[in-house]
């Protein structure tokens, strides 16, 4: 009961601060958003100084002048080999270094040389491979990307570019700010270089710092020396003139430039205004996607009459659907798609970011003919976007596709692919806030066996700890955690415990004590360790942006986390970070991170760094041999490399079930393949029908975990009416049967970056009916899934995409022809899933208690023929948990059915894995006549005739026990 008391207090807090939408900023409550959004189109003060244009191999450089302020910007254009144009804009002579996001781009992308095609007074035209030209126009400054005379994307076409230069503050307010911040600022003097203006200029500032230097703890100085990566420059000497010039031209202060207050929270802004913004027009496009995370439609809406889409990692209590509010994660990456091409735009900035979207087609009703007039008829559709961030630089990647898969792999070439998860991680997870004690865990585990429902992982939420001190155990409820994990692991299962980024400020708590000693916590704007309120009460936050802090934290998993075993994995929650008493329930923007960067600069990447460090901890723990598994709530571009994410605290209602599809699709196309939504909904109690339908949907989504709030009723499958339990069991078993297929899809995604759960247009890019589809999706290129997401549904309206395609109901083998909407009657048991004619799916149809127990089980291949009676598919096999696949201990094979032959061949000749598994069954669907004989010719086995049965109703043949080895090449011939 005592924890209820605590919870009550917290719940009160949560209710007070979070249900209310007003606790989160609207654009006009965010000074830079308001300022930037107010820029009037068509009046850009920027002029390209074409005489400065120079090409150095793959980099073209150019200065751009702000004719109002006199500030000069340095612009770089990189032509990347992967068909990407990178555009970087920074101040030519910034007062101090501006934040450039590190650790996202996986390696310096290889550049391709620019060729200058044309150069005159008004324009410069440069070319890269694939007939791509980039045209820079002097005045008004704009950049256009053209491929074979088709204008694809225009930059600053609306003249919304803005780049607030770092400046000195006028007037006497500065002194006050200095008093508060001088210790930190001077302690990091080499970092900040020059922080606050004074009328005497920066010389006096340096003197001032020298004067107070003895106050600085020796450690800070030492650290200073160690810091070398991504450190803001020291003061730029010889830059006085430019700075003075700026000073003269500087506009008068607007409110919110040097400090800002939201509710009771004051944001000190020692650096003053530093926002950057730019507009991009996607020419000939109607549909844009991505920029997760928002609880909104998959095809993004125009924001003409709403706030812009906001990207700012926040813990939003009981989030609302269908609005552009920020949520837990942020990937500033957008895709545009039309029947001819798919392109991407990646805005690499970790600060608070807003994206405005308008469309001449979607907004036509609003602007009517006026818009057409301006655009000259408006026959060509166009999506205009305006991106702006609070700090940092403009660093944009334009991914030119042109196919969806090319865009996926281009994005992966920048930020990496989803790492191959261990097999258990893509199996079924059972979670709840909370399984109360060891007996509770054992009983949940036992009930899965009792009801013969497979499960791989049992999770423990915050209550398992000793007073919310992560990496400890409540000694009364969990006196023998190792024994408990061993018992769970004896059946091949795993466990997960939660580790949040906030650590209780308790000197007797080993993590806090050591973290404080090492100085690894985020600091306040005035220098002390940041102190905020979260689950344990007063807490501090590890500064995961600091490589040393990450390394130290990771090392805790090796030998400091008592009661953990190799079968224990980790869940990082609240890592936006959530701060109960902070502005917008997060940390103050003026909190100071490693190297003196403000949270303002690094906010959106913080959570990713934590997941990165946790994954590193898992790897370290196994001596580098085992794959990690970490679930995170916050995410950023690149998070796919470190584990799974989920859509946070959703609600047990039908609309949230529906919303899981567009949300996961948006996250998927933004590179994060391993994502899921809490099955059943986190808040509130789902009725049995909803919970059952949710299981059915999530069994076909990448990350499959049931979770529930502390206040909800127990809802483990066996607690539902028998009929519902049986349906849920069947859904989970379907997931397990398809694990070889899922695992293969994750492997393929790790190669090419394509999402595993993907929009229909990824496979049928020219089928316009699919552009807004968000009630069905594909898994890989083989399965079409249309989950039932409404109460009491008697039928669903399934769209079968693609010209001349055939789709087979996976249960009945009933066929459907492409480009058709079909009303499919559904029963409670029915999950509308269809196999694409032309695909081959590997399955393991034997039910097991968990995934690892089916390691040696035989496979079934389901061959679904297309109109040409052919099909193909892949299978990837490895040990399912280690890094041995990197030593080529894997099999990656293709199955091709053509001309009445099914052939198994290696795709990757390097791979070799000795599996015990054979093929026990091959099903070929779509055969109009029964074969007379079927025989197999194997690499290491004599030709043998195979038994089969033909079903003339379903037009399918089942080949019995070919018993072919997976590692062998073989051919099966149907005559």
């Amino acid at each position: 009961m005592w924890h209820h008391l605590i919870f009550s207090v917290i719940a009160l807090f949560v209710i007070v601060h979070a249900v209310d939408r007003n606790n989160f900023k609207k654009c006009d409550q965010s000074a830079f958003c308001k300022r930037t959004r107010a820029i009037v189109p068509g009046q850009t003060p920027y002029v390209a100084q074409l005489d400065t244009f120079q090409v150095y191999g793959g980099v073209a450089k150019l200065n751009v002048l702000n004719t109002q302020s006199g500030v000069i910007l340095a612009l770089e254009l990189h032509g990347l080999e992967t068909n990407i144009v990178r555009l970087k804009v920074n101040e030519l002579h910034p007062l101090k270094q501006r934040y450039e996001v590190p650790d996202v781009i996986i390696k310096d992308p290889r550049k391709q040389s620019w060729t200058i095609k044309n150069r005159d007074q008004q324009t410069v035209k440069v070319a890269m491979a694939n007939d791509i030209d980039v045209v820079i126009t002097k005045q008004p400054f704009r950049i256009d990307v053209i491929q074979l005379d088709d204008l694809i994307i225009s930059v600053n076409a609306r003249g919304l570019m803005s780049f607030e230069e770092l400046r000195k503050r006028k007037g006497g307010v500065t002194g006050l700010v200095m008093g508060l911040a001088d210790t930190v600022a001077c302690g990091l003097v080499s970092v900040f270089g020059f922080l606050y203006n004074s009328d005497e200029g920066r010389g006096s500032w340096s003197n001032y710092c020298e004067a107070i230097r003895p106050k600085i703890p020796p450690k800070a100085e030492k650290e200073e020396k160690d810091e070398n990566e991504n450190k803001p420059d020291e003061e730029n000497e010889g830059d006085e003139n430019a700075a003075e010039e700026k000073q003269e031209k500087e506009d008068e202060e607007e409110p919110g430039m040097w400090e800002e207050t939201f509710k009771t929270h004051k944001d000190h802004k020692p650096n003053g205004p530093s926002a950057v913004g730019l507009d991009f027009s996607f020419v000939n496009f109607d549909h844009v996607y991505g920029i997760p995370e928002h609880a909104d439609s998959f095809a993004l809406k125009t924001t003409t009459n709403t706030d812009p889409y906001r990207l700012y990692n926040l813990d939003v209590f009981e989030y609302e659907l269908n609005n552009p509010m920020a949520l837990y994660g942020a990937i500033p990456y957008m895709l545009a798609h039309n029947t001819e091409r798919t392109i991407g735009l990646f805005w690499l900035n970790a600060a608070e970011t807003w994206v405005d979207i308008s469309s001449n087609t979607a907004d036509r009703t609003l602007f009517g003919k006026m818009f057409d007039l301006v655009k000259g008829g408006g026959d060509i559709p166009q999506v205009d976007t305006h991106w702006f961030s609070e700090s940092g630089i403009i660093d944009v990647f334009i991914l030119l596709g042109p196919s969806p898969n090319q865009v996926f792999s281009q994005y992966a070439s920048l930020t990496g692919t989803t790492s191959i998860p261990p097999l258990f991680a893509i199996s079924y997870h059972q979670c709840r806030w909370n399984y109360n004690d060891e007996d509770d865990v054992k009983s949940v585990d036992a009930n899965f066996d009792e009801y013969d429902i497979p499960v791989d992982v049992i999770w423990l939420d915050i209550e398992h700890t000793d007073g919310k001190r992560y990496m400890t155990w409540d000694k009364l409820k969990f006196p023998n955690p190792v024994e408990m994990q061993d018992q769970i692991a004896s059946k091949g299962r795993k466990m997960v415990t939660i580790v949040d980024p906030h650590f209780k400020r308790d000197d007797n708590y080993f993590v806090y004590k050591k973290g404080k000693e090492l100085g690894h916590f985020i600091k306040n704007h005035d220098g002390g360790d940041y102190d905020g309120w979260c689950w344990p009460g007063s807490s501090s936050w590890i500064d995961y942006t600091n490589p040393a802090a990450r390394e130290w934290y990771a090392s805790l998993f090796v030998d400091q986390y008592e009661g953990s075993t190799k079968n224990l994995f980790t869940w990082n929650d609240m890592n936006e970070p959530s701060v109960f008493n902070g502005p917008e329930v997060t940390i103050h923007k003026d909190a100071v991170h490693h190297n003196g960067w403000e949270n303002r600069d690094v906010h959106n990447i913080y959570g990713m760094y934590m997941q990165m460090a946790t994954a590193e901890g898992h790897v370290k723990r196994s001596g580098g041999t085992e794959r990690p598994f970490v679930l995170s709530r916050a995410f950023f571009a690149g998070s796919q490399r470190y584990g799974a994410i989920w859509t946070g605290d959703n609600i047990a209602d039908w609309d949230h079930l529906k919303a899981s599809i567009p949300m996961l699709l948006s996250i998927g196309v933004a590179g994060l393949a391993f994502a899921g939504a809490d099955v059943g909904g986190f808040f509130k109690n789902p009725e049995p029908e909803l919970l059952t339908r949710w299981y059915q949907a999530a069994a076909y989504q990448p990350f499959f975990r049931a979770h529930a709030h502390l206040d909800t009723k127990r809802r483990e499958p066996w607690l539902l009416p028998t009929q519902n339990m049986a349906i849920i069991r069947s859904a989970i078993r379907q997931r397990y049967a398809l694990l070889p297929f899922w695992y293969t899809q994750f492997y393929i995604s790790s190669l090419n970056g394509a999402p595993v759960m993907r929009p229909l247009w990824a496979l049928f890019p020219t089928d316009e009916n699919t552009f807004k589809t968000e009630d069905e999706f594909m898994i890989g290129n083989a399965l079409l899934v249309h989950p039932v997401t409404s109460k009491g549904a008697a039928a669903v309206n399934v769209y079968f995409p693609g010209q001349d395609t055939i789709w087979y109901d996976v249960e009945t083998y009933k066929t459907y022809i492409g480009l058709n909407f079909v009303s499919i009657p559904v029963t409670a048991e029915k999950i509308p899933v269809y196999q694409f004619g032309g695909s081959i799916i590997p399955k393991k149809e034997r039910v097991r208690r968990c995934s690892s127990l089916g390691k040696d089980d035989p496979y079934t291949l389901v061959v679904a023929l297309d109109k040409d009676y052919s099909a193909k598919g892949e299978l990837y096999i490895d040990d399912g948990h280690s890094y041995e696949y990197k030593q080529n201990k894997f099999l990656y094979r293709s199955f091709v059915y053509k001309d009445n032959k099914l052939m198994s061949r290696k795709i990757d000749n390097n791979g070799n894995y000795a599996t015990e598994s054979t093929v026990e069954r091959i099903i070929v669907i779509g055969l109009f006549d029964s074969p007379n004989t079927i025989h197999a010719i194997g690499q290491n086995s004599p030709m043998k005739n195979l038994e089969f049965t033909y079903n003339s109703q379903t037009k399918s043949v089942v080949i019995r026990k070919p018993e072919l080895r997976l590692q062998d090449d073989w051919v099966i011939v149907l005559k």
Partner: protein, 554 residues
């Protein structure tokens, strides 16, 4: 639902199998139980048990699922919903799901479920069987002990119920006579109260009349006293000149009582004694003035009053006095009279006069006090006739009250008993014994208390108040096992949550005891409770033997 039998209820079947098998040749098909053996007896063809297909016998247990009902693969994991039978010689045989076969985990103690791959299982049936039999033996003994206790519970419960029934019958008869008696006594009471009331009223009216007359006399006396005081020359005529001498009548605060003011007060130039007493005393407001003087004196009682302060002007008074309705009324009246006295500036004569008035008032007050006392408490005793009537009525009332109380008592007893009779103490009244008992269980933080058929509570171990976790609701087990679960509902409301409730899982045990108390979901508590009342079956210990493994070997 359980998919394979494990519970005690299948024991007889198990023993049957063992008995039959002891004579067989031991070549039974892998994974098949003896009861199903006949399905697999044909050596050339196998018909799926549900009749859905027919396959060559060579395809049975060939690690490929041919039958829809999974019956062709009893010994492999090939079929999705099959059952594998472990003989478990030396221990109890059991079914496991086919999915547990050859998955690398040893589930059967005879190790037969793992015959492929690298997993080496060891036959542990002998040890497990021995331990299990000993365990079951112990349990059977306990169960039987519980069974015996249960029989005694039944006897107790049924006896109690019967006693209650008899008591009820008895009480119902009693109730009838008690009701009759109550009605009779009520009639007598009514009859006795009528003359009593009449006689009392007569007596009281007479007294009221007397009081009225005395009051009038007193009033006249008071008026006379007042007149005598004002009538300075004792000529029985009160003139305006005499009024003018009393400073208190200075209504316009000019320091003197003018002719006009005096005229206004008297209504004429002069007034004789009789007119003053009968008319001016009440109508002219003198009575009020003097009653005000009374009040002043009361206030100063016990103090050494230097002078008679007439009340201050109303505007001052209203801010100084605690305001109650009576006061306000008085002042309003006073205000109308425009009466004013400012004594301090007066000459000696005035002083003397005032002292006289003061004395008179004091005397008057004493009289009045006495009279009031007479009025309130000093009514003469009832006369003898009335006294007699009262005595009779008192007796009648007493007797009625007694009869009524008895009637109500019986009625309450009946409804309590009836409530108990409708309470579900089990089909054989075996749970009745738990009524009026409480059982406690203490964990690391709390002491939980279960009072069956009454309530469930929790209180912190180290002091603090008791929290209700629910009051008796109903039996809530599944239809075939209703008495396996007690439900207590509508406990103390949870903050931002539901009312607390408790589910009590009941099992057979030798003693009545709470074995555990948990809170699997917020504010829903779960107790485990053992009671002999649920030991419904008696196990023949002989049948439960043998404890020697050779009897079970096949």
């Amino acid at each position: 639902m359980k998919t394979y039998p494990t519970s005690v209820s299948v024991l007889p079947l198990c023993f049957l199998i063992i008995f039959q098998c002891s004579c067989c040749d031991g070549t039974r098909l892998r994974g098949v139980s003896i009861s199903k053996e006949s399905f697999y007896s044909d050596s050339s063809w196998f018909t799926c048990i549900d009749g859905s297909g027919k396959i060559p016998f060579s395809k049975v247990n060939d690690d490929y699922c041919d039958c829809k009902d999974s019956s062709d693969e009893p010994g492999t994991s090939a079929c999705p919903n099959g059952k594998f039978h472990c003989t478990n010689a030396g221990h109890r045989p059991k079914y496991i799901p086919s999915s547990w076969v050859n998955d690398g985990i040893c589930d059967c103690c005879d190790a037969t479920d793992e015959n492929k791959g690298s997993t080496q299982c060891v036959n542990t049936c002998k040890e497990l069987g021995k331990a299990d039999r000993e365990n079951r033996h112990r349990e059977a003994l306990l169960q039987n002990e519980g069974f015996d206790i249960r029989l005694s519970y039944i006897v107790t419960g049924q006896t109690k119920r019967k006693e209650r029934e008899e008591q009820l019958q008895h009480l119902k008869v009693e109730l009838q006579s008690a009701e009759q008696l109550k009605e009779d006594k009520e009639a007598i009471k009514i009859r006795a109260e009528e003359p009593e009331k009449k006689s009392k009223e007569e007596h009281e009216n007479k007294w009221k009349e007397e009081v009225k007359i005395r009051k009038k006399e007193l009033e006249r006396e008071t008026a006379t006293t007042a007149f005598d005081q004002l009538d300075a020359n004792n000529d029985s005529i009160l003139t305006s000149e005499e009024i003018m001498k009393v400073q208190g009548f200075d209504t316009d605060h000019d320091g003197a009582v003018s002719q006009e003011e005096a005229m206004n007060i008297l209504g004429q130039d002069q007034v004789d004694k009789e007119s003053f007493i009968t008319r001016l005393w009440t109508d002219g407001g003198f009575k009020i003035i003097f009653s005000e003087l009374n009040k002043q004196n009361e206030k100063h009682d016990g103090e050494d009053i230097e002078a008679t302060d007439l009340p201050p002007p109303p505007d001052v008074a209203s801010t100084q006095h605690p305001v109650n309705d009576e006061d306000v009324d008085d002042y309003e009246d006073y205000d109308e009279d425009e009466d004013e006295h400012d004594h301090e500036a007066h000459e000696d004569e005035d002083l003397r006069k005032s002292q006289e008035i003061k004395d008179a008032v004091r005397r008057n007050k004493e009289r009045r006090k006495k009279m009031e006392q007479d009025e309130e408490g000093e009514m003469p005793d009832w006369n003898e006739d009335t006294k007699k009537l009262i005595e009779v009525a008192d007796n009648a009332r007493l007797e009625y009250d007694e009869a009524n109380k008895k009637y109500n008592d019986i009625n309450n007893q009946i409804s309590t008993l009836e409530k108990l009779q409708t309470k579900d103490f089990g089909p054989d009244q075996e749970f009745a014994i738990l009524q009026d008992q409480c059982f406690e269980y203490t964990d690391r933080e709390y002491t939980y208390k279960l009072c069956p058929f009454d309530k469930s509570t929790q209180r912190p171990k180290n002091g603090g108040t008791e929290t209700s976790l629910g009051t008796w609701g109903e039996w809530d087990g599944p239809p075939d096992d209703k008495y396996s679960l007690m439900k207590y509902t509508r406990g103390k409301g949870c903050w931002n949550g539901p009312d607390r409730s408790t589910n009590v899982k009941m099992t057979c045990g030798k003693e009545n005891a709470v074995l555990s108390a948990t809170e699997p979901e917020r504010c829903v508590y779960q107790f485990e409770f053992t009671t002999p009342a649920l030991c419904k079956t008696q196990i023949s210990i002989n049948e439960n033997e043998p404890l020697h493994p050779e009897h079970t070997e096949l």
